[in-house]
Symmetry: C2
Subunit: 299 residues, 2 copies
């Protein structure tokens, strides 16, 4: 089954202790769509400006991403620039130029509305709502978010949580949302807000699932060298929903492995700037790391 990915499509200028790269392909939808494309057919909805490099359109197409929902409009593509500290768990935004993204309203075609799996990648909750308003009874909806929306659009986000099946957020966002330092206490509180599946991502410390059949402690794939973690969380969510869409059958039975796949694709994402590494891997590379995670966690 196919996956609809809605989110930001951006150009990222990133500085990490490993180097500096301007105008890379970025944005939550780009990372998530490429990650999901390893598993299932993907339709992407977003907007870019006329300055958007053609090579990036070609890159999406190489991943068989359906671009009928990507609008190219006059103006500049959303541009984000940020810098990472030595431990890479902290970054600061240097500049955000919204460009054409400022007036983005996702309009779904009839075909888009029928998609069974939906990933509401990180964008304003109001836009995530707008996507859901147009959908025709999707089978499974996952949403991601960021700290900014917890600050400036909390009510919209809380309303969204009652409309989705799965919610993916990182540990600091979980704390911000619930006031709980403890991951497991936070998970419990987030369920009460709506979602049946809650995933808290902890960067290099892995992630935790809370769902109908309890918790799953998902390891991060061990990396000796992180080049650029931008998009790792989006890659995680993309691979997760892509795997679920590809497997069909019981979501509950597949969810743990879906997280492992998310973890593995996120690990590749961290090994290069932007999408540089993720776009160079094939399914066999992913399968190898999944096997390795099995070996690394067995006892």
């Amino acid at each position: 089954m196919s996956v609809l990915v809605v989110g930001s499509t951006a150009l990222d200028s990133i500085k990490t202790p490993r180097g500096e790269n301007p105008r890379l392909l970025g944005g939550s939808a780009s990372h998530a769509a490429v990650a999901a494309s390893f598993f299932a057919p993907v339709k992407m909805v977003g907007v870019v400006g006329e300055d958007f490099p053609r090579k990036y359109l070609a890159l999406y197409r190489r991943h068989n991403i359906d671009l009928s929902g990507l609008r190219i409009v006059p103006g500049k593509t959303f541009h984000w620039s940020g810098e990472y500290e030595a431990d890479m768990n902290h970054r600061r935004t240097l500049q955000t130029e919204l460009g054409v993204f400022e007036n983005f309203t996702p309009h779904l075609s009839a075909a888009h509305r029928q998609t069974p799996f939906v990933l509401l990648a990180n964008i304003a909750p109001a836009l995530q709502h707008h996507v859901l308003d147009q959908m025709r009874r999707p089978r499974f909806v996952v949403a991601d978010t960021m700290d900014l929306w917890l600050k400036i659009a909390r009510d919209d986000l809380l309303k969204l949580l009652r409309r989705i099946d799965g919610f993916v957020l990182n540990d600091s966002e979980a704390q911000q949302l619930t006031g709980e330092e403890n991951t497991f206490a936070a998970l419990k509180k987030i369920h009460r807000l709506g979602p049946k599946y809650v995933v808290i991502k902890k960067g290099s410390h892995g992630s935790v699932l809370s769902g109908p059949s309890g918790h799953f402690l998902c390891p991060a794939y061990p990396l000796r060298r992180v080049v650029d973690p931008t998009g790792a969380g989006d890659s995680f969510a993309g691979a997760l929903i892509g795997y679920l869409a590809a497997r069909g059958g019981s979501l509950e039975a597949n969810f743990r492995r879906a997280m492992i796949y998310g973890s593995v694709v996120a690990s590749f994402c961290c090994e290069g700037f932007g999408l540089n590494r993720t776009t160079k891997i094939v399914r066999a590379d992913i399968a190898r790391r999944v096997k390795e995670l099995e070996r690394l966690t067995r006892f």
Copy 2:
């Protein structure tokens, strides 16, 4: 087979967001010996003052800990007091009164020298050397340490690393020792310093083993409420070596499960002040959490 535990025996006054407790039984050897006692016969070597409460001696005895190596001498017992911040991963020492510990030199009896498994719990590396000097070809020696020794006794510690089989330290100590932010890069560097087995503990994020057959990603047992993490690392090391001593056979084959047992006993330790919770559990409680960790990590 039996385990020799050498380390500090102290009275701890601890303040956490959950409460405040004066003069609890503490010290690296106390936590490690009790943890190891669930699996194997334990001999403890240490020193306390005449003020040491008799009830704590009774507590050791209830755990069948051989106290022939615990000297009671005129003076005051080592007293540590500390306070934890809200997230419990950070603590600050308020006061350290060494008391009789200041002149502690571990003297081993003939029986002690023959013990096959040795845990050099956290004390000055010079004392850890002094213990090893007296041992008669032990089968397996594990050492723990703390940031203080990395600062003031680095050379002693580096010499020790060439004499031990297993080294257990936490992530910030690993970074301090190697200069590497990355756990896996740090593990590689620590092997070069000597130990065949290196375990980096990451508190609530679990631990990582690096040994002859590769890495093992060991989860922390999920706790919704941490009361007092003091001694969790010592408990981890104690249960680990206790399990290895009890199982016999190939160390390599048992090491992963030994870490899981370490993780579980450490989780109980965190649920009460000092040794309050750890001393109330039985083997069946430990077995239940080990089973649960199996379920929590399977995919």
